[in-house]
Assembly symmetry: D3
Homo-oligomer: 126 residues x 6
Amino acid sequence: MNRIYLLVNIKVMNKEKEFNDYRSRLNERLLGTKDKIIKRIYNLDTNAFLDGHLNKETKELIGLTCSLVLRCDDCVKYHLGKCYELKFKTEEVIEAMSVASLIGGTIVIPHLRKAVEYWDELNSHV
Amino acid sequence: MNRIYLLVNIKVMNKEKEFNDYRSRLNERLLGTKDKIIKRIYNLDTNAFLDGHLNKETKELIGLTCSLVLRCDDCVKYHLGKCYELKFKTEEVIEAMSVASLIGGTIVIPHLRKAVEYWDELNSHV
Amino acid sequence: MNRIYLLVNIKVMNKEKEFNDYRSRLNERLLGTKDKIIKRIYNLDTNAFLDGHLNKETKELIGLTCSLVLRCDDCVKYHLGKCYELKFKTEEVIEAMSVASLIGGTIVIPHLRKAVEYWDELNSHV
Amino acid sequence: MNRIYLLVNIKVMNKEKEFNDYRSRLNERLLGTKDKIIKRIYNLDTNAFLDGHLNKETKELIGLTCSLVLRCDDCVKYHLGKCYELKFKTEEVIEAMSVASLIGGTIVIPHLRKAVEYWDELNSHV
Amino acid sequence: MNRIYLLVNIKVMNKEKEFNDYRSRLNERLLGTKDKIIKRIYNLDTNAFLDGHLNKETKELIGLTCSLVLRCDDCVKYHLGKCYELKFKTEEVIEAMSVASLIGGTIVIPHLRKAVEYWDELNSHV
Amino acid sequence: MNRIYLLVNIKVMNKEKEFNDYRSRLNERLLGTKDKIIKRIYNLDTNAFLDGHLNKETKELIGLTCSLVLRCDDCVKYHLGKCYELKFKTEEVIEAMSVASLIGGTIVIPHLRKAVEYWDELNSHV
């Protein structure tokens, strides 16, 4: 009898890694253009979220909620990643996003769904 | 001679079902957080589209067109689903969306394309 | 004894008239530029709100609510004026705007305040 | 000799009071409509900014910055008023708004100007 | 006979000057806060509109039209002022804004009205 | 020994073609509805970007940057395709988009990433 081995390399990549890889690759591409405005916007973006008069935790919540009301899924993901690193609790992140949903209206709900899905993915790594 | 049976379970899922399943699963996840604001926004959302001084047909057209000018594809899909249940004719839905496209500008057109694609999918079930 | 007559011409202009006069004057200015795109947008705008597969009442509600979620005060005023001419009841207009406020979030509330103020002004003419 | 008394009642009202009076008067008008959706949105809005998993200070910063990126001057004023009551320092409020300006772009700057003008007015009462 | 002299100092200030004065005063206030993010955004804003791979005329048209579709009246005024300095013809400015109005929809029209009013004011100085 | 031939037809379609095919198919669907408003918006859209007081190159840059600040990925792709046909250099397109990113804020960055990815794809055909 013949045995047929079907070896299938399924490239399982979690959503978080996929997002970060795409982001990094294209950020490098953009910074590689040597465009000064883009370079300085990126630079500003890094500095703006460091500890200052407000601590970086508060700033990340600002980044998260502003991204949510502006309905930018990738920006929300980025700030959720940062919130995860800063050890925010799920109920804090959810509450921040609930306030943003009230401000931005039900139009924000589809983005809230994607956000909680990504947050759960981040927390499933343990 | 060897016979090789390749049993492939192709999970064919239509766009409508895929959208509704994803939506339901994450709505449950969000309501499961016990966050009061989210719960009450969902509740309000259900009540707002019931018959009142305006009938629910008119309200769905409002929901559809507001979603379109705000360029929220998932919201548009949701309201198209409701419009389908309420037996709107294609020409009525298209006309409502054409008014919204004029108000919102050509920036709305890519969302209008997705909308008509989804509307046709809803109508292909018969 | 000297009598001093102080004749003061107080130009009392209601908000509605002021809005309409400003609008008309600058619409004429814009159409006077002979720019074809502007001319055709204006033309389209007139046609889009006529009776069609949907009646003009429904279309005005669409115009009103889309303007409200996009937070364009002048557009809201314009459509409130049309709704007034079409003999909409206050509770209908308020309900339409409440649905829009839910969709667009609390960010819409300041525009809702201006809207109801203008609606009351329209209704104070009797 | 004739004396002419010109009694002029100059109604000097500071911007803060003017804003709050207008806001209160029209909120009452809206709540007076008995529209349930509007009533419940107002109710939710009050509850959302109370202490919860996040304290009310953090929530006000969220309210302030979301309002700023959405470019709603009246919403910004409202949250600045709350930040003032909560004894935020100027440098904290400015830093929060600078993060929002980076997120929302230079299109936010005109609203930032109005915001700092109102903040200074709030602080000039002492 | 008694002569009554009524000396009235009417502070006639044109719209352009009023806008520029307000802008300058509050820009100074903001830069006076020593907030680094704000300072660098202002700096970037100055640099971005200088001649580069694209000339400054093209960049001003980009600034003007992006401001218009984002419906920021003050930003539109600012770029109209720059376009005036750069000796743009009325038909060029109008055409640029007509393209923006098509992209952004009829919701842009009220801002187009204000824009042409301000442009005419700029051109009435001769 | 048994040889098993697995013939797999991989449908490799580049992003550009995929985008254009989808766009064309649904544009035809929409124009096939005979809705007059939609037909005329499409018509206007074609005319608006032809040479006029401004040349079509300038108009495409306006279309590109307005699409970017409004964060419409499909609109950005469309105008990038046109810019490619008009032989724009990479540094010109990047500079135009950097100005738009400053105006629209960091919320635009995820769309800028997709834009440069698509631009590179357009340029990889040679």
